[in-house]
């Protein structure tokens, strides 16, 4: 086999320029294949990793959305949760909220604003005042710079404001960076629990499924059950929350790009194949003498066919390897512009080699067969 490869390499090396031009199609085709697969694989890889982060492996999220913009009360109740937990394959159900803050009215004298508010975090950097963990009884509040300015213009510290009718004393002011998300006010943990937490509707039911259970089926069953007996079915809609929702659009664009590159790859490979066939025809007719000699010295017609087939395959595989290298470079460039990392998997390499081999075999077959079938006496008359 190695000597057969050497024969192939030798005769390819003899016509480097011609063969390189023939390989161009393969190179472009395979480089495209590598890019498609790298982008596709990279995307899937990122998606799966993302899901892993959110522990999506064993959980389905059911979403409740209000039908009316004015009445947003609703969500899942404890009864709903029990109903969902009764679905076969469900391990347990957790109700959560997609919004982290409560809505409230803040008032100072005649000015009043709708604000978002939450329980105070462990740490918070203040621009004014000192930060400490407040008790429920203290009725303190931390407000954002922005809200402080709107309510008091200046000197907000230690002033009193009313939030939903309860009086709070401003303990400190914090800055919200442009890239940062924070509510307008923080109150003590216990205060928040007592007065505001019930306001935050549980609009998500996280359904943890048993190993081996189908998330898809359970998701469907859960939505169906909620549509029948959900306690807030009148005020809202239930649906399976799709974590890839945002990426859907992106996937579509990606698919378009993929089809486009695949199209280029297909065309290049077809043109490449025709080029290979052409160059193999030329090779065969140039080497009639050689074929005659080999036949006279014991080569069977299948030896000859194999020789040219191997040559055609080797030509394509060399093109394929150059294509992979080019593809690798392209992928590195593409990676600079992608929000995820395109990866070249072993599968992509195997596929590229297989495609190259297939092109070599398919388009090399007819010329090789011609070589194998030539009449011996005629061949030996060639010079």
């Amino acid at each position: 086999m190695t000597d057969k490869l050497m024969i192939a390499l030798k005769s390819i090396g003899k016509n480097k320029n011609r063969n390189f031009l023939t390989m161009l199609g393969i190179i472009i085709g395979i480089a495209s294949v590598i890019c498609i697969l790298a982008i596709g694989d990279g995307f899937t890889h990122t998606m799966i990793k993302g899901m892993g982060n959110h522990n999506m492996r064993n959980k389905v999220i059911i979403q409740w959305e209000p039908t009316s913009d004015y009445n947003t009360d609703g969500g899942f109740t404890q009864n709903d949760a029990s109903a969902l937990a009764g679905i076969p394959g469900v391990d347990h159900v957790k109700l959560t909220s997609s919004v982290a803050e409560a809505g409230a009215k803040a008032q100072y004298k005649t000015k009043n604003f709708s604000i978002g508010l939450n329980k105070q975090p462990k740490h918070l950097k203040l621009v004014k005042g000192t930060y400490f963990t407040m008790t429920g009884a203290s009725n303190g509040v931390y407000i954002s710079e922005d809200l402080a300015h709107k309510l008091f213009k200046e000197n907000a510290i230690n002033r009193l404001i009313s939030i939903d009718g309860t009086i709070y004393e401003v303990q400190g002011i914090y800055h919200i960076g442009s890239m940062e998300y924070r509510p307008d006010a923080y109150v003590a943990k216990t205060t928040f629990k007592q007065l505001f937490a019930n306001q935050i509707i549980k609009d998500q039911a996280k359904i943890y499924v048993n190993d081996g259970a189908s998330k898809k089926q359970i998701g469907k069953a859960a939505v169906k059950r909620m549509k029948q007996m959900g306690e807030e079915k009148k005020t809202g809609k239930y649906s399976v929350s799709n974590p890839d929702q945002i990426s859907k659009q992106f996937t579509r664009i990606l698919n378009d790009v993929t089809y486009f590159i695949a199209f280029i790859a297909g065309i290049s490979l077809l043109i490449a194949g025709i080029g290979v066939m052409n160059v193999m025809y030329i090779t065969v007719s140039e080497r009639r003498k050689e074929i005659g000699i080999r036949r006279a010295f014991g080569a069977t017609s299948s030896d000859i066919r194999n020789q040219f087939l191997i040559e055609s395959v080797v030509l394509c595989v060399i093109g394929g390897i150059i294509g992979m290298i080019l593809g690798y470079i392209l992928v590195s460039i593409i990676n600079a512009f992608l929000p995820f990392k395109a990866v070249i998997t072993p599968y992509a390499i195997i596929l590229s080699l297989s495609v190259s081999t297939a092109v070599g075999l398919i388009f090399g077959f007819i010329p090789s067969n011609k070589a194998a079938k030539s009449e011996l006496v005629g061949l030996l008359k060639e010079e």
Partner: protein
């Protein structure tokens, strides 16, 4: 070694060979002479199993190969026969060693054995030190030695040579014929086509072809005329 009975060959309406009867014994060295276009090459192509479309019967070692398949024919050509051609027919991009190795590529011998066989014949035809040269770097005589080495590397029983000295001067022709004589003395049967009666002298026996017909001596050819 071989027996030809009533063999004929036509190209369309043209009769290239007619009524050929010939017997060659083991160990014989036969020369075939005749003018250009008389059918010499046509005949030895049949004898060398290179051409299978003829009429009549041809037995090589008492066996007819008329109806055997391509694989078996190739095997016989590779193992039992050795060809030498007028214009050497070497692979121009392969070096001496690689050219001589060609018949071995298609025979099932182990690599070491093959190397040994090539080294032996290179020695035999006096090309030591030229293994790495390509044909264009050799003289005509040296190229024909390469061709002979290639023909004998697989130790064939029968060598078929079509004008082996046709492209060589008389001194070089003599050297080549000395090699042939030695091979023949070592037991190889040789059938050689030649124009040159001096070259034919080396053979044990000479037959003559004229217009596709075979004659056993020059006199009968003249009588025929």
């Amino acid at each position: 070694m071989l027996k030809v009975t009533d063999v004929g060959k036509t190209y369309g309406k043209f009769t290239a060979l007619e009524n050929i009867n010939l017997e060659v014994a083991d160990g014989e060295f036969l020369a075939i002479m005749g003018p250009s276009g008389s059918g010499k090459s046509t005949l030895i192509n049949i004898l060398g199993l290179l051409d299978q479309s003829y009429t009549g019967e041809y037995l090589l070692e008492n066996k007819s190969y008329k109806d055997v398949n391509d694989n078996q024919l190739s095997q016989i050509r590779g193992d039992e026969l050795g060809f030498v051609f007028q214009n050497f027919k070497l692979l121009t991009t392969y070096n001496v060693y690689e050219n001589i190795e060609v018949p071995l590529i298609y025979s099932k011998k182990e690599q070491n054995k093959k190397r040994q066989l090539v080294a032996d014949v290179i020695d035999k035809v006096g090309l030591k030190g030229k293994e790495k040269n390509i044909p264009s770097e050799l003289s005509g005589g040296q190229q024909q030695r390469v061709a002979i080495a290639r023909a004998i590397v697989n130790r064939p029983k029968l060598i078929i040579a079509d004008e082996p000295t046709g492209a060589l001067d008389s001194k070089t022709s003599k050297e080549i014929m000395d090699i042939f004589t030695k091979l023949n003395q070592a037991g190889t049967t040789i059938i050689m086509v030649t124009h040159d009666s001096e070259v034919a002298e080396y053979a044990m026996r000479t037959v003559y072809i004229r217009d596709g017909r075979l004659y056993n001596d020059e006199k009968s050819v003249k009588n025929h005329d």
